[in-house]
Symmetry: C2
């Protein structure tokens, strides 16, 4: 324990010392970061059976908006409860964030495979258009993993597009459980959201702010 | 394949059939949900060494705002790069979402344990005030798990408060790696964000929209 640490932070001396310390800390951190090779668009995957895959994607959208970075969302599977964020984002940040809901409803069981495929393909066409636009810095492909898993979209085609046609600085976030092995292989950043506990099991229903 | 599935969805008949089908689907889903026991404030934990713990928390904040549900954030560990969301949320949604940054900077190494403890305790005092307010429906305690892990806060005291003084409908989200066993035990919903791949390992530095 140094005397510096004991003193209350009220006087100008203490504030100055604190500023010096913080500056040193920042310099150390900047040095670490300078060793990294710089900005590069990432392929980011949120998968696993736990919660938070889409929420974390929307959290990244919020960060982009905070940084005035144009971004976009394509929802491949639209549940009836997904309208809240959409309304909020388009109302407040429509100039920075595009929002396209392409799914026709959550595919609990494949009631109409052809329609699901058509919706997935339309979503992917829109996604390609958004990704090609170099102004858009992050594109969230929400629940696309479901469409890939069911074979509605071809994973090799998607990966080839991301590799060959994605602008250098564009991040693409792909969410949904059961991410394809080839996608995980190709991705730069993969998080597996594992379910440790879920309240549905305890008889609690989905609630606003948590599930939708 | 039924004839219904083959027909293009343009005419009024097809639209009507589609509406009936969707209504049936919704009724089935509503029936499932009616079996659940109703609204209840949840203790939600995002832990694990992967990314997305805080982002998913902020995604839930976005959902609350979308539902006009008052909510609040207490950041226990404030990195210099966490200011984007704060500015955005307070500027646009200050009437619905309170934001309190209590940490003094990310504790890479404990340079000043007493100051860290003081900041954690101040954060927890603010958190208690916010949780006690029945108007606030969700409180995000961002990175509190770090403060609990380091012993800056007493986990039993935190759990006792959440059990005894939290209003019935209030959700509390606790994020950060290494969540205490007792917290996981007490929680209703726990997601473990596992790191499968991280671009820092490949020499890519933190980038706006992704890391901050």
């Amino acid at each position: 324990m140094t005397p510096e640490n004991d003193s209350p932070e009220t006087g100008p001396d203490e504030l100055a010392r604190h500023a010096v310390k913080m500056a040193k800390k920042k310099a150390a951190r900047d040095k670490i970061m300078a060793g990294k090779s710089g900005e590069k668009g990432l392929i980011i995957v949120h998968t696993g059976s736990g919660k938070g895959k889409s929420s974390a994607g929307f959290g990244m959208i919020l960060r982009c908006i905070a940084h005035q970075m144009p971004c976009a969302v394509v929802q491949f599977i639209k549940g009836a409860w997904d309208t809240g964020e959409r309304r909020l984002l388009t109302t407040h940040f429509g100039d920075l964030c595009q929002f396209h809901a392409m799914g026709e409803g959550f595919t609990w069981e494949t009631q109409d495979r052809e329609r699901d495929i058509a919706a997935a393909v339309a979503g992917w066409e829109k996604a390609k258009e958004l990704i090609r636009d170099p102004e858009i810095r992050l594109v969230l492909l929400d629940e696309i993993n479901i469409a890939l898993r069911y074979g509605y979209l071809d994973v090799e085609e998607v990966l080839a597009f991301l590799r060959d046609e994605r602008p250098e600085r564009t991040h693409v976030v792909l969410t949904g459980r059961n991410a394809a092995e080839a996608l995980i292989e190709a991705a730069d950043l993969v998080t597996e959201m594992g379910q440790v506990k879920h309240p549905f099991r305890a008889g609690i229903k989905g609630q606003p702010g948590v599930e939708f």
